[in-house]
Symmetry: C2
Subunit: 298 residues, 2 copies
């Protein structure tokens, strides 16, 4: 596994951390960054994450053997159109988008004959901080990366992308794009919708001005942390993965309805059963994670 | 402010941390613990949090000038009945329950002539760990404590409890019991219901056995942390503060319904507005907290 020229289109936390990780492993020759914020790109060069930069995705992608598109979902299609004409026959293209179904379908048209060189991907990592200054070579250590190849995807391209992510310390899984979108709707998209809806709902309560939050403690802070995520990015995800999120919302509302009914009828046994079941499921998940070497906070 | 004999009925994280904080300030003579788990009580003595212990709440409360009931909500009424006959005329009684309205109403009957000596209280602090071994003298530093006195509450008793909590570094606020229950329904009880409902809902998905959680990341872990809370304790809270929680659930479902409609109609502007509003409210709250000296993680 070696990349001679790596193009990172969109040099933020995700793209920057990937470049930093590969560089640390000595697996990459030259790294070219592409973005719109020159201060951020200069920072990337200063930090040693990039060797040089350009504002033009086509310039970045030309002669690169690995092109990673790490822009927001809504901007990905336009980037694909710009780089399709210059992508080398043996080059590999991948992305990091949080939803895959619609993106893959559109890529088939936009990339045309280059489509088999595209390996759709999604590293399940991130943070509230953004920009290349937040990049960390160990961001992907023990994190999952999901690849969603389709029948047309070239096996050598898939293997290259898998090796690239494994070199960062990530655990790489494969599944089809629709399944990915259902899984992520459950573990990421629905929780974000609930956190945003809760904070939005409470911000309008009582004395107004969010005074009610002054009595919130650590549990609330943790529960709502994801409501401090980037609104643009989440608008794109909600639009793109709408049907899967909608279906899960309906399922969630049914569970919440059952919980409300138990409160209304003062059914303590049903409440305890539901709470205990949830606690058990979460605690079992944490134990599996701990065994896999994730040493993060609980 | 000095307590000659402090009785802690229920020596867990909350009661133990209070005793430890007062002891560190040199404000307490003797601390008597009362509980059912002898190993935990022995631990309390070993840690220097308690001077001695008993299994009988009446024995603990007799001759104490400050009695703190820190048992679970469902066990509080029975404790009040046991200590009412032995509570000294100048003694002060307080509790730490997470809901106040029903508890105060029942205390009026159960405590009878001693009711004015009872100052209902609620320290907004805690953690997933429990037992006296988790107690920390600094647990209440910069945390809120809400007292919910009623017209009968003796002013000197109220002043004593306020001074006691202020001595631990807490910020003490007063409000009526019903308002407390509405505020806590919003900032604590509803979030717990949502976290429990989400994990419960997802645990039954897909391949079953919670396999879907394996693709969850840090955001999910934070969002669902409170679903690892004690099911017994939360059953009691849900039963006790049912109407306020129910009312907020309805409000939350209306907000979530609006969000779902925006997803269904692909209304990106409405989604972005809702997400940005929530982010702004949360970030403003974090800034206020930071100014108040809370240095915890964001």
């Amino acid at each position: 596994m070696r990349i001679e020229r790596l193009a990172i289109i969109g040099v933020g936390l995700i793209g920057g951390s990937l470049a930093a990780a590969l560089r640390r492993q000595g697996l990459v020759g030259e790294v070219i960054g592409c973005g719109r914020d020159e201060a951020n790109l200069i920072k990337g060069v200063e930090l040693g994450v990039l060797d040089r930069y350009t504002f033009d995705p086509a310039v970045a992608a030309r002669h690169a053997d690995m092109v990673v598109v790490a822009v927001t979902l809504g901007a990905t299609d336009a980037i694909f159109e710009k780089i399709a004409p210059v992508l080398g026959a043996q080059a590999v293209l991948t992305d990091v988008g949080s939803t895959k179904g619609g993106l893959v379908t559109r890529a088939r048209t936009r990339l045309g004959p280059q489509f088999p060189r595209f390996v759709p991907g999604h590293p399940i990592a991130g943070g509230e901080r953004s920009g290349v200054a937040a990049a960390r070579a160990d961001l992907y250590q023990n994190h999952r990366v999901i690849l969603t190849p389709v029948p047309e995807t070239a096996p050598d391209a898939l293997a290259r992308v898998r090796e690239m992510w494994e070199a960062t310390g990530a655990q790489v899984a494969s599944m089809d794009p629709a399944h990915h979108d259902e899984v992520l709707a459950a573990t990421s998209h629905l929780p974000h919708m609930l956190a945003y809806a809760l904070v939005d709902c409470l911000a309008g309560l009582g004395e107004g001005g969010g005074a009610i939050f002054d009595y919130a403690a650590g549990g609330f802070r943790d529960f709502t942390r994801i409501a401090s995520s980037n609104p643009d990015m989440w608008r794109d995800i909600a639009l793109e993965n709408g049907p899967a999120i909608e279906a899960l919302c309906a399922r969630f509302e049914a569970t919440l309805g059952g919980l409300r009914a138990a409160i209304r009828t003062q059914d303590g046994a049903a409440l305890e059963r539901l709470f205990a079941h949830a606690k058990q499921a979460r605690d079992a998940w944490l134990e599996r994670r701990a065994r896999e070497g994730d040493a993060g906070p609980r």
